[in-house]
């Protein structure tokens, strides 16, 4: 009996099929044409042709953030692969599982500076969870299976697989074997928290008088929001989310005290600063949260739960470290609370909530409407209202990102999609496209600005080809708003290269790509025109909103200060 033989290119596609991949986001080129040929000859996986490889990575990323399924990118060697680098780094910083298949020149040419040769494994080494070179075509299926396993377990992250041309060509064939139940002796991520640490953590939580639960993207990644909500309600503790953790608990939950950190709410940062115990769940004490680490919450006992041991005690020393999957650990914490028959300390809680409510009453997340000029915050509020708070909101990077985080309370995890760690301008539109492909019947918004949107504007063409009617809401302030804000605050208003001259007519631009363009100039037409934009379901709408260019994002942590030292208005410190 003769076994069926496959080319490497066929093996790639077959392996992806075996791993239940539905979409590949990519762009063809010389070294991967055999894979494209194999894709052409099957119907199980759909290939989405972007207009720039960076967008392919962000689109895969957005798809993953919306669904939880691993996104797959296919790029050719050389420039195709290097164009993926920003997207890989974006996924890496936010722990997003992704598999990037990159072409490579034939094995015998590697190192000769061949046409479109780049050492992409080398280029991407600092920004991947792992990477693979293929040396034998029979290895391809299991390498791809391993790549998925590594990308999607433990602390998730991107994995690069480099496929030399000679592994893919029709002349070379081999047998196909794939082991989808991957086991590796060198990689066994911890799953459950150590029981001793759980006991210690609960003992500390029970004795706390001013507990704050501080959660991050880990809750979203682990789909742990139900357990988290249960735990928070059980403890009746205040909870704050990082930028990445928004939606981990409903933004309208009474225990939610807002986002913390640089542009977090005053009540969240004050609560952190005054806490006696901080329960950190799937968050990493990023510098955009802590502000000056030397002044960070000096009186708090810190319980830090994270799947990645390197995140623990990296910037802030954890008194009680717990390594494990956050959903499992939360369950363990609740089981332990049961075991000790926990009842909350009502008196301490009342005092704590009274204090927090006083901070809340200062309404740090607020702005002053200004007649005719459209305030960017207003736009986000209107978006929230029109979409019933149910949209997928995919953000670019800058002021609009912070306004969206502050003024659109997310009911569910995965609703808020943004590049938090790397802060990648140009992320928003392709990420929104990825979310839209997964959820075609939901509102998917790309909230962006006149700076960010131009970093991947070419994807408007992809949107037309694949019918991806996202709603782009651009808070157009004719400048790089966040840069300008820092220049106002720190550089005495010297607006060095932060003014966007020669902006295109975005309405005409959208139209030339075959979409609908709407411009909003005045506050009084905001509601109607936005409503109109969201009522157009079958076509992409680009809403160009001319907002007040002088607006700053507040509150804002004072540089080098403690976590709760904040500017609440221009020139006003809390």
């Amino acid at each position: 009996m003769t076994k069926e033989l496959y080319t490497g290119a066929e093996m790639v596609v077959k392996a992806l099929s075996a791993l239940k991949v539905k979409y590949i986001f990519g762009y063809p080129g010389g070294s991967v044409l055999d894979i494209y040929d194999a894709i052409f000859n099957q119907n199980e996986i759909e290939h989405i042709l972007v207009r720039h490889e960076q967008a392919a990575t962000h689109m895969a990323d957005g798809y993953t953030r919306a669904t939880g399924e691993v996104g797959v990118v296919l790029a050719t060697s050389g420039p195709g692969a290097t164009n993926c680098v920003t997207g890989i780094a974006t996924a890496y910083m936010d722990s997003i599982p992704m598999v990037v298949l990159s072409g490579q020149v034939a094995t015998n040419m590697i190192g000769d500076d061949a046409f479109q040769e780049t050492d992409i494994v080398g280029c991407s080494r600092p920004i991947v969870k792992h990477s693979f070179n293929c040396r034998k075509l029979e290895d391809i299926p299991n390498i791809i299976a391993k790549a998925f396993y590594i990308a999607n377990t433990g602390r998730p992250g991107p994995v690069v697989v480099e496929l030399p041309k000679d592994m893919l060509i029709p002349q070379n064939k081999g047998e196909f074997h794939i082991e989808t139940d991957v086991k590796m002796r060198s990689y066994n991520p911890t799953v459950k928290g150590h029981p001793k640490q759980i006991k210690k953590a609960v003992k500390t939580i029970v004795q706390a008088e001013r507990l704050v639960v501080y959660t991050g993207g880990g809750i979203v990644l682990a789909d742990a929001s139900e357990q988290l909500t249960e735990l928070v309600e059980r403890l009746n503790a205040p909870i704050t989310n990082t930028l990445m953790g928004l939606g981990g608990i409903s933004g309208t939950h009474p225990n939610f005290i807002g986002m913390l950190g640089m542009h977090g709410s005053l009540e969240a940062n004050r609560s952190m600063a005054n806490a006696d115990v901080i329960l950190a769940l799937g968050a990493r004490f990023d510098d955009r949260v802590t502000n000056n680490v030397k002044k960070f919450c000096p009186n708090a006992t810190i319980i830090h739960v994270d799947i990645d041991p390197t995140s623990i005690s990296k910037t802030i020393n954890a008194h009680i470290p717990v390594v494990g999957l956050v959903d499992k650990v939360i369950q363990q914490l609740m089981d332990e609370l049961d075991a000790i028959d926990f009842t909350p300390n009502k008196e301490a809680l009342d005092n704590w909530w009274q204090q927090i409510d006083q901070w809340r009453s200062l309404k740090s997340i607020s702005y002053e409407a200004d007649g005719d000029k459209i305030k960017p915050q207003q736009v986000v509020e209107a978006m929230y209202e029109i979409t019933n708070g149910e949209a997928y909101v995919c953000s670019d990077v800058g002021q609009h990102q912070m306004f969206a985080a502050q003024y659109y309370p997310f009911a569910k995890p995965r609703q808020w999609i943004n590049s938090g760690g790397l802060g990648t301008m140009g992320f928003g539109l392709p990420a929104a496209m990825g979310a839209k492909i997964a959820f075609p019947d939901s509102h998917v918004i790309c909230i962006t600005g006149d700076g960010s949107i131009q970093m991947n504007i070419q994807e408007l063409s992809t949107c037309l080809q694949y019918n991806l009617p996202v709603v782009i809401v651009s808070l157009n302030n004719r400048s790089l708003g966040m840069v300008r804000q820092w220049q106002d605050m720190i550089y005495d208003g010297r607006h060095s290269s932060s003014y966007m001259e020669s902006l295109p007519d975005f309405v005409k631009l959208a139209e030339s790509y075959g979409h609908v363009g709407i411009q909003i100039n005045h506050a009084d037409e905001l509601q109607d025109k936005l409503t109109e934009a969201f009522s157009i379901k079958k076509r992409l709408v680009f809403v160009d909103v001319l907002v007040d260019e002088t607006e700053h994002v507040y509150p804002m942590q004072v540089r080098h200060g403690a976590v709760d030292e904040m500017w609440t208005r221009k020139g006003v410190k809390a």
């Binding site: 494994v121 080398g122 080494r125 600092p126 969870k129 792992h130 990477s131 070179n133 040396r135 590594i150 590796m184 002796r185 060198s186 990689y187 990645d308 041991p309 390197t310 623990i312 005690s313 990296k314």
Partner: protein
């Protein structure tokens, strides 16, 4: 503080570069690094001498452990261990006096002369870093050092404790 880390990892292409890349990416020090396959050719063992305070060392160990190819890492300096380094050194030995001196110092340090040329002796010495430094100092007072190469240290825990899978 100087630490010696022993790392057991998959003997895969690129696994060494991941270790080296990690050290430079995160601004950790490498004083010396040695690597070779173990008795099991699917595994490599790396010994790294590094310098850092407790916090940095904790991060180094965690970050190295996080690399997918790494199976185990241990800080040998935490407990009793043996540490050795090999030195090959080429010394000017032009006349009887310097030849005698080179021979004498080599004997004192329990080294051996492994090659001779018309005007040079090549000496091999093993020991910990301090001993090799002392040897180099002693020699430089007596004659000219033409060339020296050090292997970087390797280490192993004393007693039953072992780094294996």
């Amino acid at each position: 503080m100087r630490r010696i880390l022993a790392i057991l990892l998959e003997n895969e292409p690129g696994s060494l570069s991941r270790i080296v890349g990690l050290f430079s990416q995160r601004a950790f020090n490498i004083e010396s690094l040695t690597v070779a396959p173990t008795e099991d050719p699917s595994l490599s063992r790396i010994t790294i001498a590094t310098v850092g305070d407790d916090r940095v060392l904790e991060q180094i160990i965690k970050q190295v452990n996080k690399l997918i190819d790494v199976i185990k890492i241990t800080d040998l300096t935490e407990r009793k261990h043996v540490e050795r380094e090999l030195l090959l050194i080429k010394l000017l030995a032009m006349n009887d006096k310097s030849r005698t001196e080179v021979k004498r110092i080599t004997d004192i340090f329990r080294g051996s002369i492994i090659d001779i040329g018309k005007q040079v002796y090549t000496v091999q010495v093993t020991g910990d870093a301090d001993k090799l430094n002392a040897f180099i100092d002693a020699m430089s007072n007596e004659t000219e050092i033409i060339e020296a190469v050090r292997s970087g240290c390797v280490g192993i825990a004393r007693g039953e404790k072992a780094l294996r899978i």
